[in-house]
Symmetry: C2
Subunit: 321 residues, 2 copies
């Protein structure tokens, strides 16, 4: 996976940082997390195709996280999108979109499925595959979007209005196919390769049985990216970020402004780092900076002192996960 | 006056042209015409202070002309604006803002006066001063905003939904004060200068009467800027642009796409030029280009052949009027 921050400022844009939006890019498709004003332009700048975006996840209904939705959704209609789009967000987002449609401000002519996620816990079991079911059962994590190769989970985090954190989790992939070993074993090139790779025993031309374990390397765990903004430090974020390869966490303020962070439902850089430590995340990407920080070095220093693998999100600077 | 195009693309932004917005800048204050998504960032790029913006004029309720409103209005609240703001627009704009406020998406903590302008003609007489009353009576032009030194008129133009064109008209200014002549006449420096400049006779220390015409040059007519988008060519635009110093007119298409222009309620560059000719405008600024024109030279050429004083609006390239 690849992560491209599209907007890293809190509240209002600056000339260097647009308001909240983050692209999580996989092969052939990508997901958008939050959609502040101007996101459609940032998408263009990043060289991403809106048509390959399969789902949008909104964290909460503060304008700097979704005011870009009407424009982006309408532009895809202008561009004759046909592919269906899923929009996941907090309760209220459907009424918002319905109102814009009724006022004829929003025009969508492609299939758009809106999923409102509330704070109630889910029984689990919506997950496809054992892994995701297990994960959903373990805590309050809730499967809100599923594709063949990954699932997206959500759960409420701790902002001053209802807000959702998200976790993108790739399903484990089978080990790499060892061509040399397959040939040595006498497996003929062709469909048997695919069946072995898919985890099936196959019968060879000479009657012997070849097993997947004969030709596949060790299974590869899927990558995990967690997205926690806007929020105070909370148990839900720790759960969302459990052993994540990358935790994207807001760091609106420095430690000296922790009273303000608490009051407005935000985190300091140090608190974000503490969430990374407690969740066992491998890397931390700080974002959602107060516009008072023209230079974000103090935020990086504060977090790095607690969690070394910390980086600063900058608009359009992509990270490989 | 100074005009700064903030967005010159139609429908959706490109990397070179944002969606519709234009600043008309006077000394100490400025007016915003349309407010497409991303306008608040363009305002920053132009070096304009939102706090000095006194009024916003929206032409019509297509998203690319006003999706930037929630963000801009909210940012000014974040920035603790205190100055009152007037928002003029078509019917429906109040419901839109009220809905956003009810959904708690929009938060405005400064005085905001919303004026909806419908298609009915006005009796005239709202204008302050003889000029504006005369103008309002002359046709269907309607005074929608007034300040000491200028007035803004509106009237419906011909788009596929209800849309308003605007005309900013400075009041005529008295002639320049001739210091030499005043001194030769024996007018003592001080308050008498101001009274003469304001158009009053004054009594000199030696008992003589000095008249304004003794010390003032010829009266200077106010400048006029007209803003006509989105629209087919129409009589209303000609009236709005009557003898304007600058007509800003949409030119979404070239002549070969005139069927499309007609169908979607737009103008070709040639039609915009014809409006300039018929209105007696001095200069024409083309804007609102279809994104199919990566190079807008064909639009400039088409219009210039009909009206020589034609220019292309480019984002953030300002014009002195």
């Amino acid at each position: 996976m690849k992560v491209i921050p599209l907007g890293t400022s809190s509240g209002k844009p600056t000339l260097k940082r647009n308001v909240s939006a983050t692209a999580v890019v996989r092969e052939g498709e990508w997901l958008l997390f939050d959609c502040g004003e101007g996101t459609q332009t940032q998408i263009q700048r990043a060289g991403l195709s809106p048509n390959r975006m399969t789902a949008i996840f909104i964290t909460h209904l503060h304008g700097d996280h979704f005011n870009g939705l009407p424009g982006l959704l309408s532009t895809m209609a202008l561009d004759r999108r046909e592919r269906s789009l899923t929009l996941v967000g907090p309760p209220g987002i459907r009424e918002y979109l319905d109102t814009l449609a009724r006022l004829k401000i929003l025009f969508v002519n492609y299939p758009l499925e809106v999923r409102e996620v509330d704070g109630r816990s889910q029984g689990g079991g919506e997950g496809r595959g054992e892994e995701s079911v297990a994960k959903a059962r373990e805590g309050r994590l809730r499967v809100v979007y599923e594709a063949a190769e990954y699932a997206v989970y959500a759960q409420p985090i701790d902002h001053r209005i209802f807000a959702l954190g998200y976790r993108v989790e790739e399903r484990p992939r089978p080990g790499r196919f060892d061509l040399e070993r397959a040939r040595a074993l006498g497996v003929p090139e062709g469909p048997l390769f695919g069946r072995l790779q898919a985890g099936n025993d196959v019968e060879l031309p000479d009657g012997r049985i070849a097993h997947p374990s004969d030709v596949l390397g060790p299974g590869r765990p899927g990558k995990v990216v967690a997205y926690c903004t806007d929020t105070r430090p909370c148990a839900a974020s720790i759960e969302l970020a459990r052993e994540a390869d990358l935790l994207i966490h807001e760091a609106t303020y420095t430690h000296d402004l922790s009273a303000e962070a608490r009051e407005f439902g935000h985190s300091t850089a140090g608190q974000a780092a503490q969430v990374a430590v407690e969740s066992g995340a491998r890397r931390l990407l700080l974002t959602h900076f107060s516009t008072r920080f023209g230079d974000v070095t103090p935020l990086l220093e504060e977090a790095s002192a607690i969690f070394e693998e910390t980086e600063i999100a900058n608009d359009l600077v992509e990270l490989e996960v």
